[in-house]
């Protein structure tokens, strides 16, 4: 216990030293610097896509890394967020708070429904239920042509307009302005999710991941807490999906396909689940590699798959751990990856 009466020492997140210290200031500085430099390294829309999938991956990591809920249906919420926002934007409503508010409400409700069905099942059953719900929502989107455009996608999506007092209306038609906007949302999402992980709620989610029964016997309504986490993750994924629709001015049917659910799990796992920087790094590597490989060979998904496999085998704690500790295959002994 340190002088100001707060507990010190931390492993998962939670009850740690309070107040900013050098390491966390350095981390924040690195993240902001990376976000600022990113568009100088690559085409602006690829950079924007990385920010969008970074948000999606961080939201998914609240489920995977913190709560230990391996959902394979998160694209349902990404896509639904895209459709919700895209529908308004394609029909002349461009007010930014309205568009994002609607996307959050729609995806939050959808996540509540899917969560109610699946949370009480564990392990493979939870995975399969989230996956099945994803498929269900995909076919609903496929069939509901009047709203989603079906196979052709929801076209005619405009970018929203931010009305600010004194400044006036800011349009996002310039891709650089849109990148800046997406990057700000990325940073806000990261700060929000880090706060969630470090809160009592996040600490209990992590506890329930490690020993569900013990968490219940300490008085915690575990299933309800997990449901709330599922709703938060779904709503934040919905924001990412909304941004994706705005970026390309269309919401393709692929955005709600379960491939997306698998990709986002890849991003989380190759980046590392122990922090929110890991999934963001995973999104960067995945999107960037996807772009790079697709230029080199028409069978590029093979290479991407090989990369994911190699990461799983040689760096099971994720790429972020490369920066913080020596990997097992370098130090000559094999540690078991955390379950």
């Amino acid at each position: 216990m340190n002088a100001d009466g707060e507990p010190a020492g931390v492993s998962d997140a939670g009850v740690s030293k309070s107040g900013p210290h050098l390491v966390s200031i350095a981390k924040v500085a690195c993240v902001i610097a990376a976000v600022a430099v990113l568009p100088l390294m690559m085409p602006i829309n690829i950079a924007t896509e990385i920010m969008i999938f970074g948000i999606f991956a961080m939201a998914t990591n609240l489920l995977i890394g913190t709560a230990g809920l391996y959902s394979f249906g998160q694209a349902a919420f990404f896509g639904a967020g895209g459709y919700a926002a895209g529908f308004l934007l394609a029909h002349g409503w461009t007010s930014l708070p309205l568009v994002f508010g609607f996307a959050v409400v729609v995806t939050g409700l959808l996540a509540a429904a899917v969560g109610l069905v699946s949370i009480k099942r564990v392990g493979i059953y939870f995975m399969m239920l989230t996956f099945a719900c994803n498929q269900l929502i995909y076919y609903a989107a496929y069939s509901w042509r009047s709203v989603t455009g079906g196979e052709d996608g929801l076209a005619g999506v405009r970018r929203p307009v931010l009305e600010l007092p004194f400044v006036g209306a800011i349009p996002f038609d310039d891709n650089r302005v849109f990148y800046a906007f997406t990057a700000v949302l990325f940073l806000v999402a990261m700060a929000f999710l880090v706060r969630v992980v470090e809160s009592p709620f996040g600490l209990v989610l992590a506890a329930a991941r490690q020993n569900t029964r013990r968490a219940a016997s300490l008085g915690y309504p575990v299933a309800k807490l997990q449901l709330v986490a599922f709703i938060i993750a779904g709503a934040v994924s919905g924001i990412a999906g909304a941004l994706f629709g705005m970026l390309y001015r269309i919401v393709p049917i692929d955005s709600v396909h379960w491939f997306g659910s698998a990709y986002v799990v890849f991003m989380v796992v190759i980046g590392g689940t122990r922090s929110m920087i890991g999934p963001a790094l995973g999104a960067f590597v995945f999107i960037w590699l996807q772009g790079l490989l697709s230029l080199t060979w028409s069978r590029w998904p093979l290479l991407l798959g090989l990369f994911v496999v190699a990461t799983m085998i040689f760096q099971p704690d994720g790429l972020l751990a490369l920066l913080t500790k020596r990997p097992a295959w370098l130090s000559g002994r094999r540690e078991r990856s955390r379950s």
């Binding site: 009466g5 490690q210 029964r213 016997s217 300490l218 008085g219 915690y220």
Partner: protein, 250 residues
Amino acid sequence: MTERQIVLQADRLSKRFGGNTVVNQVSISFTRGRLHSILGPNGAGKTTLFNLLTKDLTPDAGAIRLGDRDITSATPDQVAMLGVARSYQISSVFLEMSVRENVWIAAYRARRGNPFSFWRRAAAFSQPIDLANACLQRLDLLRIADAPVKELSYGDQRLLEISVTLACAPDVILLDEPTAGLSGKETARVKQVIRSLKDEFSIIMIEHNVGIVMDLSDEITVMNRGAVVAHGGPDDIRANRDVREAYFGR
């Protein structure tokens, strides 16, 4: 003289797994402020009885009352919030957290912290900290409070398990084999701790160390093959022939 108050009571409780009746029509009551041990050979249904009392398992028949409240259909977290805390036979600590975090999580809920609070950092809540530290102090764990639990010895993990149970600030404590797998020195330490808890809590204990049971218990219930075979004070039990049969197989 007023009658002793019943704090927890099971009425004809039964639990079957497939064709096996593991707990068979068990009626048992626990008196406030006493240490009540449950003895019996392996497979007697002691731990299953615990799981029924805390609602980790749902009974097939029978009723459970906590004070004057029927908790037969409550959930484990509700039972915990009504003041029943337990330790597990197999250590159930959170391995990827520090010692202090383990105890903090129990203390936070015991102090009626809102589990849905996701907008403030855990470190900003100061109420549970005194309770958490007191519980660590009691088991002499403050010295390793910031160590990751997975680096602890098995003995220290068992002590932490008890410390977490205390941090629930309960009325009733269920201890499932608190000295299992401990060294002689650690066993003595746990025995001393349990003795010191006797004045504050109602304690129900499963324990195979007969010496500890005889020394500490106010009441003893003996189970065999899912049923209660004897009940009484330590002297009654020591003299009981059925108990010797259950224990020594003849």
